[in-house]
Symmetry: C2
Subunit: 218 residues, 2 copies
């Protein structure tokens, strides 16, 4: 039995909590068993007693973060608003912990992702989609969310140490604006919107676009 799970005793939860903190402020490369050992004032072997390996630790950290998303309850709104609420919950979690963007794809069978798909699916059902298209529509929403998550993760990776979001975005917009208008008319004209857009709003527009696709395919 557990001898002492109190003060200084190591536990799976304490390890996962520390891992999340390290991931949050140092990115994926900052999570090291050595650094984790130091932070928890213990050795690598002690950590391996509670956690099988790094992959499992990352999965556990992802689950812990997603658990918060699932705590929200979008009671008696319209299905459309319910989907928006779930999606925004995901977005905010990803925004706060960008590293989960690289993890979300792999654990489709794990409980958290399944619960999220279930919730979205129920709302898609409530939107009146024919039975045989519900699965595809739900997957589309989920894939879009994963795509945005992945981009957020990549952006956060490019940001470690160096520049902030605004600076990075500005540099990108500058590149777009300096392109040959004959070859890149679209990127040129979109450079402005690219430079000062709100990620959250852009995300929501995407969700709405898919939702209205679902609405018209009803």
């Amino acid at each position: 039995m557990a001898t002492r799970t109190g003060q200084d005793g190591l536990s799976r939860d304490r390890i996962v909590e520390a891992a999340i903190a390290m991931l949050d402020d140092g990115g994926e490369n900052a999570l090291t068993f050595r650094a984790l050992s130091t932070r928890l004032k213990t050795g690598a072997g002690a950590i391996y007693w509670h956690v099988a390996n790094k992959e499992e630790l990352l999965a556990a950290a992802t689950q812990a973060v997603l658990a918060d998303v699932l705590r929200g309850d979008e009671g008696d709104t319209t299905p459309r608003d319910a989907v928006r609420a779930i999606a925004l919950g995901m977005f905010d979690a990803i925004d706060h912990h960008p590293w989960i963007g690289g993890q979300l794809g792999g654990l489709a069978s794990r409980s958290a992702s399944m619960r999220i798909i279930e919730r979205i699916g129920q709302q898609v059902q409530a939107l009146g989609m024919p039975q045989e298209h519900q699965f595809f529509a739900t997957s589309t929403l989920f894939s879009f969310i994963l795509g945005v998550a992945g981009q957020n993760a990549a952006n956060a990776r490019a940001r470690v140490g160096g520049r902030g979001r605004a600076e990075l975005l500005g540099a990108e917009a500058a590149i777009w604006a300096s392109l040959d208008p004959a070859e890149f008319p679209f990127l040129r004209s979109a450079a402005g919107q690219m430079g000062d857009h709100d990620d959250r709003e852009q995300f929501l527009v995407g969700i709405d676009l898919i939702l209205s696709g679902i609405g018209s395919a009803r």
Copy 2:
């Protein structure tokens, strides 16, 4: 000047080509400078003369694969079909080289991704989207594509060594089918479609869903 770029001479192209081959049949972990050295019958230092580091090598490999996608020309079809053609080109490239799924997010400023966004953007423009929404609509399509790419990459990762796609899909469907119908009504009812769906068709349905959202928001 290059002394001998012929038969056995090392070159950036030969390195990238070998890297793609190794990534294709061994996944991301199979690409090692040591294994690459062995395959090219040379040393690590020789490779580093042509390539700055692993990140650049991965980026170059991704660019090389995407270059093929950009070779296609969707001449005088409808904008809708043009988007479908571009998206399917991406899907097939991702399907053939699943590892690019983990790379696509990061290089938004690099030429290949920019060209793809440009092409999609032009078609979105042709669909009659109001100027101020074109950028968001294009991003939505691109994010969806990246999301599917990421999932493909994760699935391929889970597949190395072990089971094939059908086996993995079947296992997942079995899990869904065995869930508590009270708690997971949607996943239960979708287990069948999950078990025997066609990834490509599912992808195309997603694209169409977004396109019809774009059409109705016109």
